[in-house]
Symmetry: C2
Subunit: 307 residues, 2 copies
């Protein structure tokens, strides 16, 4: 079983109350891949980078079972670069620089060797680009999940609405869910979104956890209470990687299994925020992940005899 991951591979400059890095490897597809590779192999990457993207990072990914045939390397351009500064609460940030570079011309091609994949994760990109990937699949994957952002709701809403009819799972944050629907209540927003196409909706609330909606059912996964959130960059993509990686591993796309996948995603995200960039994701092993998932069980498990 494999998982196709489409999205950016990039450099980030990040400033948090705890420190700063000038140039660290980032990008949605990078985080998704590092998280998912713990559960499913191969992860089949579709992305675009410039001449400056480190060979060692490519080797590191390959060593973890990430296939890079779908990653285009543009010899005379730079990789996508994002720079941001987090506020003290770590829930909000200012974008300082967005240099699209190679990403401006990203026209992803799904290699033939990826065509058998049954799981597809579309990282945040222009909706038209995400649509083009789905259309390239000769057989519709068993499960298509997507991320997006407020920017596309503002400048590409018709394409986004078309895309929503083509996917199974939408993963967005609380502010995006409110913007997409005009509903302040997340429960009402979820009801609206579930009429737009996706059968499953994940609303990410950062340090306040995540909600999974399906029909009239709802499931909640907390975020692990941490002493310090060191750097939230990539936490949402890492969450998506854990979620899709676990589903691809278990090949079970039922609501019950998605609950578990949400917990796995939350566990992976809780590692991601402990160090800058994907640093922590490269350090952990299966024992660490199992221990973290046990912590989530402890965090929410309770017994009751009804009153």
């Amino acid at each position: 079983m494999s998982l196709i991951v489409v999205g950016s591979m990039a450099f980030d400059a990040i400033e948090t109350p705890f420190g700063k890095v000038d140039k660290i490897v980032g990008g949605a597809a990078t985080y998704v891949a590092y998280a998912a590779a713990n559960f499913v192999k191969p992860v089949q990457q579709v992305s675009i980078v410039g001449y400056d993207f480190p060979t060692e990072e490519m080797e590191e990914l390959k060593g973890r079972g990430v296939q890079l045939e779908g990653v285009e390397i543009i010899p005379d351009k730079k990789s996508f670069f994002w720079s941001g500064r987090y506020h003290e609460d770590m829930n909000s940030r200012d974008t300082l620089i967005t240099d699209l570079n190679v990403l401006a011309d990203f026209n992803p091609k799904v290699p033939d060797s990826y065509q058998d994949s049954e799981f597809l994760m579309l990282g945040n990109l222009a909706p038209a680009v995400q649509i083009s990937v789905i259309k390239q699949m000769k057989k519709r994957p068993k499960l298509i999940a997507m991320d997006t952002m407020n920017f596309w709701m503002e400048i590409a809403l018709p394409e986004l609405q078309q895309l929503l009819t083509m996917v199974d799972v939408l993963m967005i944050n609380d502010a995006e869910a409110r913007q997409l629907t005009g509903q302040y209540s997340l429960v009402k927003a979820a009801k609206d979104i579930l009429t737009m196409g996706p059968k499953y909706l994940v609303i990410k609330k950062g340090e306040h956890g995540a909600l999974l909606f399906h029909g009239d059912s709802v499931f909640f996964a907390p975020a692990l209470p941490l002493e310090d959130v060191f750097d939230p960059t990539g936490a949402g993509d890492t969450f998506a990687g854990g979620f899709m990686g676990y589903l691809a591993k278990t090949k079970d796309v039922s609501f019950d299994n998605m609950k578990t996948a949400i917990i796995v995603g939350s566990a992976m995200a809780s590692f991601c925020v402990e160090k800058f960039g994907a640093t922590r994701l490269k350090e952990i092993n299966h024992q660490d992940i199992d221990a973290r998932i046990r912590q989530f069980k402890e965090l929410v498990n309770f017994d009751i005899e009804l009153v």
Copy 2:
């Protein structure tokens, strides 16, 4: 088994995005009593009201097993009155009016008939007043829990610090935990607070749930995702009432049982916010409560075979 509840009984004027009420019965002790009476009888109330507090409300409480011997009635003064307006997000509000009235002279007396009680809930009041209640108990209750607010941290910190050494459970919200410790991280704030006296700390996060800290252990209870939070007034006190009511009913003050009590408190609070004031709390029965607790189990229960 009984539970002593100390706090205000009052009138509120409330404005939310959904409507307004000019004068509705409120007060911390009122909410605590309505919630706790579902689990423990008698609830032994200690409060103060003016000539204008409705006889029918007193009768309603009595009918639910709430003893009012400790409620002083001042014949020539008005009851405490609070008026506030909620913002659209319902997590923040502006206080418009605070008329202390009888509460300015509140010097609570614990009746002899309450002295056997093993559970004591101190609603938000001046720390010196809360201390005076503890000192009146001839035998220290098995479990003393308290609420407080930012105002007392600003004008009565020494008394508050003394009080903290005398109680078992502190229940405050996230902003108050941060203010009390100067720590932004709630995990760090909790560590600090657990050195100040209380062995158990509950941090209420409104729509984002509640955390229970004890030693190095932490438990998280979500808030139920609701279509509309109609009126959050009293939700924290209702939470406290469910929590203490359940502990008094089960007579078990272990950490494991407190986890369950936090869920019960969250369930009660989820009813409270559905209508203005304590309206909804007066309508529900044990079947409603059981069904709501089942919803909480559904909301967080997941299965996993570790990876």
